[in-house]
Symmetry: C2
Subunit: 313 residues, 2 copies
């Protein structure tokens, strides 16, 4: 006989603000840590998960969602259970969603705010070369691996030790390795150990309540992967944008620097954007032409995302 459970919905809402990828976070009353917008699913009142999620995000942040997709359903015991009204009625399962917003509008709320996601994953940003956070993380992971060849191989591949190539998509696997290795704060918390301290604590990124940072990592993984096979960046851009702004948006999400000309050539070949003839003068240099996403091609032919032609420096 099945015991009833409570379904929670959490949303990772992403936007670009000043060329940085930001994520909507809330600070529940009485909580020191940030969390994702989160709410219980009411099976009586809501017809679908997605509608329920749109409703409570708007309620908590006064903000309307655009593009939305389901990420994953989290149900493990052992991790700290999410906070939710009604969690005392049984186990809480949380369904994570990814939402993309065309602009980081003001949330009109003191409890919710946009945070750069590099706060939560400082080691994920390779736009300025190898992130400084890895200088603290690498020795910690090597200590954790010790003589265990399997652990060392995993850490090496995921965190690009010894010149191994960086794969920007494996955000979740990296977070889970850090959790396993006790580098991130949540691991210590869930195991009842004393908090991680000093340099390493900073390198591991800010913790979040419950398993929200894991959900955030899932979202970043999904989004970085999706960039390449669906034209999703455009969901994060305003109607008119410059090609440089588009490139900066892609770089902010993927966390890697791109080769300007090759990026543009790929764009051109895919016929994804169209020049508007008008110019954006506030560039700090030569004015840039404004472009728009040719949304109509979605109906005309199968269309993939953007290539990520790396710039190696």
């Amino acid at each position: 006989m099945a015991t009833p459970v409570v379904i929670g919905l959490s949303a990772v809402v992403v936007a670009i603000r000043d060329g940085e990828a930001v994520v909507l976070s809330v600070r529940p009353p009485g909580q020191a840590l940030a969390g994702l917008p989160f709410g219980p699913f009411d099976p009586e009142g809501h017809r679908t998960f997605e509608l329920a999620m749109r409703a409570f995000v708007t309620e908590q942040t006064r903000f309307n969602l655009g593009y939305v997709e389901q990420l994953y359903t989290f149900g493990d015991k052992g991790r700290d259970a999410p906070l939710a009204a009604g969690s005392e009625h049984g186990r809480v399962i949380s369904v994570g969603y990814l939402a993309l917003a065309p602009a980081a509008l003001d949330t009109h709320s003191t409890d919710s705010q946009w945070q750069p996601w590099s706060r939560f994953f400082p080691y994920e940003d390779w736009r300025q070369g190898r992130p400084a956070a890895l200088f603290a993380i690498e020795p910690a992971l090597r200590r954790w691996a010790g003589e265990d060849a399997g652990r060392l191989a995993r850490a090496r591949l995921l965190f690009a030790f010894d010149g191994a190539p960086w794969n920007e998509e494996r955000v979740l696997e990296r977070y889970e390795l850090l959790y396993e290795a006790g580098v991130v704060q949540e691991a210590a918390r869930d195991r009842g150990e004393s908090p991680v301290e000093g340099e390493l604590a900073r390198a591991g990124g800010d913790p979040m309540i419950s398993d929200h940072r894991r959900i955030l990592a899932t979202a970043l993984s999904r989004l970085r992967g999706k960039l390449k096979y669906r034209p999703v960046v455009f969901e994060l851009m305003p109607e008119a944008f410059t090609l440089s702004a588009l490139q900066r948006a892609v770089e902010a999400i993927a966390g890697v620097p791109l080769h300007k000309q090759n990026f543009r050539r790929a764009l051109e070949r895919a016929e994804l954007v169209e020049g508007l003839g008008t110019l954006e003068p506030d560039t700090g240099g030569r004015p840039a032409e404004l472009h728009r996403f040719r949304r109509e091609i979605l109906a005309a032919r199968p269309v993939s995302g953007l290539a990520l032609p790396l710039l190696r420096d």
Copy 2:
């Protein structure tokens, strides 16, 4: 206040049998239609969804799962609710899983059996050229579209009308379009209409209980996509296999014919397999060398899946 709900787990278990992709189906007592292995999740007894799922699949089919991944969580009202003990306690949510089995072992059960998934999606198999089922589907969709340019464009792109390219990954979107257009049996059932008849009914594929065929379509989409960026085919192969058998397995899943030599060249460049020196004599022609998957490279470097070099005839 959140109302309790019941969580159901369903599994799409895939294997290759005689070069065909097959899926594990069960026929619940008193049901005319096939369904997926399905069971309630017990929040008291089960630590994780995945363990729960492995347990009840083994129980229902006496079969142990290998590779497993979560697919999607289905929770819409309006579709026929899944059958489950306890569904009268509230709404039923189902978490779908995809599992890959290295061989289609006997299930030792009369209620569960392997079914080729072309039974459920006859229009998805392009290995012998354009599937016959599309000759019935195309006019039905054109009638449904009528003068609506949006509908026509969607149907054209998804079902490759007028020489548009076939995209094998979009199985779910095709199924959902057929549902919307009332071509598949489940649509008529859920709307209380009279069943689809004749040629078109056959072309639409065998219906399943509840929303199980939608879950199956989700699984096929996911698996076809995953083939290309993770070496998952090998989870479906025995330890030793011939390159032709591998190619047939990929073709059975992707539903498209591949170019033999280009397929092999891609395999070779990726260094995914290794010849064993031994020969498989029962090929019907010249004996073929047996190969094995070099599983160790997964630990040595990031590895993508297989290219699908199409053979067009």
